[in-house]
């Protein structure tokens, strides 16, 4: 079992909600209107980086590598792996801000800011995604995933997510093939590929959604949130219940 926040960058619309949700989640007040007045400021750990062409973006965050290069080079042992094995965590109390972790990070996701719980209140320490371990411990999905309305960020067991992705690819290929016979010599030869593209990035029947729905139909996962059953059945997405 390797549970992770998986990124579908083709879906990201650059709304930055994940950044806000992340910062609020890592605040003392847990309240948006108060969080940005706290000292030290709560910091986001997901970074929506604009792409080289307009309207593209990639929500970048710690991939929690194993073995983690940052953990190997940390001279004070501030970086460790949690008991579940899914997360790489930084102990702010032991961070000396040397930035060696940033040097070796394959994804450049480290930032340096003063942080509550650090050795000194002023010194910048390494800040990165902690996998929302407290939220996940409560049975919730990470804050960035909850805030993402378009499934650019999804949470789950990596092999299940990939299986869902393959299901989507299969649907896309079949959609392209299925439309091919209708293409006449004078017709639009791109129709098949358009169908492929539409299925490939379809939002309403997401890869992970379809996969998780099927699992649910098979009774693989009981709905633990009976209270919200009605509304979940209505909103068409299964992201939260499937991962709770």
């Amino acid at each position: 079992m390797m549970r992770t926040v998986f990124v579908n960058p083709e879906r990201c619309i650059g709304c930055l909600q994940c950044e806000i949700a992340c910062a609020v989640e890592h605040s003392a007040s847990q309240d948006l209107a108060l969080a940005f007045r706290e000292a030290p400021l709560p910091r986001k750990r997901v970074h929506v980086q604009a792409g080289p062409v307009p309207d593209t973006a990639y929500p970048n965050k710690c991939r929690h590598c194993d073995p983690a290069p940052c953990q190997r080079v940390c001279p004070t042992g501030a970086i460790s792996r949690d008991a579940s094995g899914d997360l790489v965590l930084i102990d702010a109390k032991r961070c000396i801000g040397c930035a060696m972790c940033a040097v070796v990070c394959p994804f450049d996701v480290l930032t340096f800011h003063p942080l509550a719980g650090a050795l000194t209140p002023e010194a910048a320490v390494a800040v990165k995604c902690d996998g929302c371990e407290q939220r996940v411990g409560r049975g919730e999905v990470p804050a960035c995933v909850e805030s993402c309305k378009v499934d650019a960020l999804v949470y789950g067991e990596i092999n299940e997510l990939m299986a869902g992705g393959r299901l989507r690819e299969t649907g896309a290929v079949l959609a392209a093939m299925g439309s091919t016979p209708t293409v006449t010599p004078n017709g639009d030869p791109l129709a098949g590929w358009r169908s492929f593209g539409a299925a490939r990035v379809s939002v309403n029947d997401t890869a992970q959604g379809a996969w998780l729905r099927r699992r649910r139909q098979n009774g693989a996962r009981a709905d633990q949130n009976g209270n919200g059953e009605g509304s979940q059945a209505l909103d068409g997405t299964t992201r939260e219940e499937g991962t709770s």
Binding site: E19, L32, A33, L34, F36, R43, K44, G230, S231
Partner: protein, 651 residues
């Protein structure tokens, strides 16, 4: 200022009413989506927008300011958080002010057409009020016919919308000290449309980049609503449909009749509902209903159309804003007739699950999936009969097995126009002033505004109101707040027992409830008039009076405009839902602090009804102290209720 309190979460409930909860449960059983499901799907909502830090005003954007300081601190144009928050707030005020004022214009146009003899179904019902208002704004009435006076009044008020002569006609009603204050600040409202147009202009990129200047114009835009568009709507509605007098009615979903054709009038404007109420009594249509097995035709109200009908005719009211989908879920409604404002597009979808017809009537408010009957005042009576007939024709399609009317109705009293209140007091505000001076009544609070699914429906309205009356503070209600208190049984004379000894005794001697229904949301102009009358009776400005406003469950832009004109008129107002301004500390500091030095009133945000009551009580006692009246020191006003509730509320 606490911001984390959540009435819904505290209670673990979506609503505190049995009728609403039963219908929510039923909607869930039947797979019908409601406002609460859609809110759930939207959460968590956009953080930038909640803070007011997003701007969509131009195509160099859209832009956002990063509240945490790592990202951009200016939009593409260079606007910082202060400008963006102030521009967004200004546009919200303009939208709310425009809504009330356009409603007022529709009434004014029908009033004018009526005076020219061009309408069907409309007449002057309160001729004395027509003549009084005409004289008030300098129109000769002596020896002139009703229609002659009405034509002149209509022309004069139409000029209020466009280029007025200096200021709006009803600004004359404002106490002189307040008028001087407005003139000094340059916020005297000049023309109703003008202030709205100017706000749209100022908030265009590259115009008004000073948040203080923008917010001052926000007050002026709102004042053009409260003392202009809304006031015109109220006054002309009174002239045409009758000035309200105390009347007893019934409220909640129990007002639906299991064996009658039920028609819900939903929206805001009384132009249509008034003629529909008349049409429903047409013997031919009643006979048609009987031929289908119904025993009659039952008109009920929803939202402010409901308040308009209740105030003047005692028509029963099914509920407020969050009841509009749930009333359909009873399966007992033949037609929901709508005009405009606060009508969720979703009512069409919910109605499709039943036999209910949604009939839209305003050409400026169409609802795909509804039947549109274009309302034309020239044929008002005929169109009203057509609408009622459509509803009656739907009765045979009702599925009796799906009809569930959940509860028995509750009685509530309405009809407290300023004229009615002064009438009950013997024609002058003096007895009320005397009671306030003596301290039997500590002050008065207008509890107004909407419902918001982010809070347990009606909880804040009812609890705040109850805490206030328990402390001898007279409560005036309009809009959704009135319906909430009606359902809670706090609006009958017997509710005087819930009030403190001083207020309770006054209510018992006059036979009135401690919570007075003053009408729809445009009728907040009545609250302004009453406040002005009190100030003039004492000879002070409005901001010296022991008054406050509260919008505990507000949601709409109209509520933003109301809050702004109430504060601009000198009455401090407490909001129960956080407005999208917290992204700018400067704007917050001005609205929640600096404004007090400028207009003698300010905003506060307090989502907890018990803490809001505490805040308001301290404010009222401080105002009493300012007037040299008996007062209770702030530290002696303690909130034991909240501690008893055992809830934890954020910082």
């Amino acid at each position: 200022m606490s911001t984390t309190y959540d009435g819904g979460r505290l209670l673990g409930r979506l609503t505190i009413h049995d009728d609403a909860q039963q219908m929510i449960d039923r909607a869930r059983e039947e797979g019908i989506e409601t406002v609460w499901d859609r809110l759930h799907a939207q959460e968590p909502q956009c953080g930038y927008c909640q803070l007011g830090l997003s701007c969509r005003n131009c195509a160099m954007g859209p832009c956002r300011i990063d509240p945490f300081g790592e990202g951009p601190q200016k939009g593409v144009c260079g606007a910082d958080a202060d400008v963006i928050v102030a521009r967004n707030l200004g546009r919200a005020i303009a939208a709310g002010s425009s809504s009330h004022s356009d409603h007022g214009r529709d009434i004014l146009e029908v009033f004018s057409a009526m005076a020219h003899g061009e309408t069907s179904g409309y007449q002057v019902t309160d001729e004395a009020k027509l003549r009084r208002i005409a004289e008030e704004i300098g129109i000769a009435t002596e020896g002139r016919s009703v229609n002659e006076v009405a034509i002149d009044l209509a022309d004069e008020l139409m000029a209020n919308y466009g280029t007025a002569k200096g200021s709006l006609s009803f600004v004359e009603r404002v106490p002189a000290l307040r008028r001087e204050k407005w003139a000094g600040l340059g916020i005297t409202p000049r023309g109703i449309d003008r202030e709205n147009v100017e706000m749209m202009h100022r908030t265009h990129m590259g115009v008004d980049n000073d948040y203080v200047n923008l917010l001052l114009h926000g007050l002026r835009t709102a004042l053009a609503d409260g003392w202009g568009g809304s006031m015109i709507a109220t006054e002309l509605s009174d002239i045409m449909f009758g000035t309200p007098t105390p009347v007893t009615s019934e409220v909640n979903l129990g007002v639906l009749e299991v064996d009658q054709v039920n028609i819900a009038m939903h929206g805001h404007n009384p132009l249509l509902s008034d003629v529909v109420v008349t049409a429903a009594q047409d013997p031919e249509l009643v006979e048609l209903a009987r031929s289908y097995g119904a025993t009659g035709i039952n008109i009920v109200g929803l939202c402010c159309t409901g308040n308009e009908m209740l105030m003047r005719k005692g028509v029963h009211i099914a509920g407020n804003h969050l009841m509009q989908e749930l009333v359909l879920v009873t399966g007992a409604l033949e037609a929901m007739v709508v005009d405009y404002q606060c009508i969720m597009p979703s009512v069409v979808d919910v109605a499709k699950c039943y036999h209910t017809k949604v009939i839209s009537t305003s050409d400026k408010a169409k609802f795909p999936g509804a039947t549109h009957v274009s309302f034309d005042p020239h044929r008002g009576a005929e169109i009203a009969r057509d609408i009622v007939r459509m509803a009656v024709e739907a009765y045979p399609d009702r599925n009796r097995d799906r009809v569930r009317i959940p509860v028995a109705p509750v009685q509530m009293m309405g009809g407290f126009s300023v004229e009615a209140i002064l009438g009950a007091l013997g024609g002058t505000p003096k007895p009320l002033v005397d009671a306030i001076v003596a301290g039997t009544i500590r002050g008065a609070v207008a509890v107004v505004g909407c419902n918001n699914p982010k809070l347990a429906q009606d909880f804040e309205h009812i609890e705040l109101t109850r805490k206030l009356i328990e402390n001898d503070i007279l409560v005036l209600v309009t809009g959704c707040a009135a319906v909430a208190n009606g359902k809670a049984g706090q609006m009958m004379p017997a509710a005087a027992d819930l009030a403190g000894p001083g207020l309770g005794a006054v209510c018992k001697s006059l036979g009135i409830p401690p919570v007075l229904h003053m009408g729809s949301c445009v009728d907040n102009s009545r609250v302004m008039q009453l406040a002005a009358a009190l100030a003039n009776a004492i000879g002070v400005d409005i901001d010296s009076l022991p008054l406050a406003g509260a919008a505990p469950e507000w949601y709409s832009e109209k509520a933003v405009a109301i809050g702004a004109y109430v504060v601009g008129s000198g009455i401090t107002t407490v909001l129960g839902v956080q407005p999208p301004i917290f992204g700018s500390a400067n704007v917050v500091n001005l609205l929640a602090g600096g404004l007090d030095d400028v207009v003698g009133a300010k905003f506060a945000v307090e989502p907890d009804p018990y803490k809001a009551a505490l805040l308001i009580r301290r404010h009222i006692e401080a105002k009493r102290q300012g007037l040299g009246l008996t007062f209770i020191a702030s530290e002696d006003i303690r909130d034991d209720e909240f501690a008893a509730a055992g809830a934890t509320v954020g910082s």
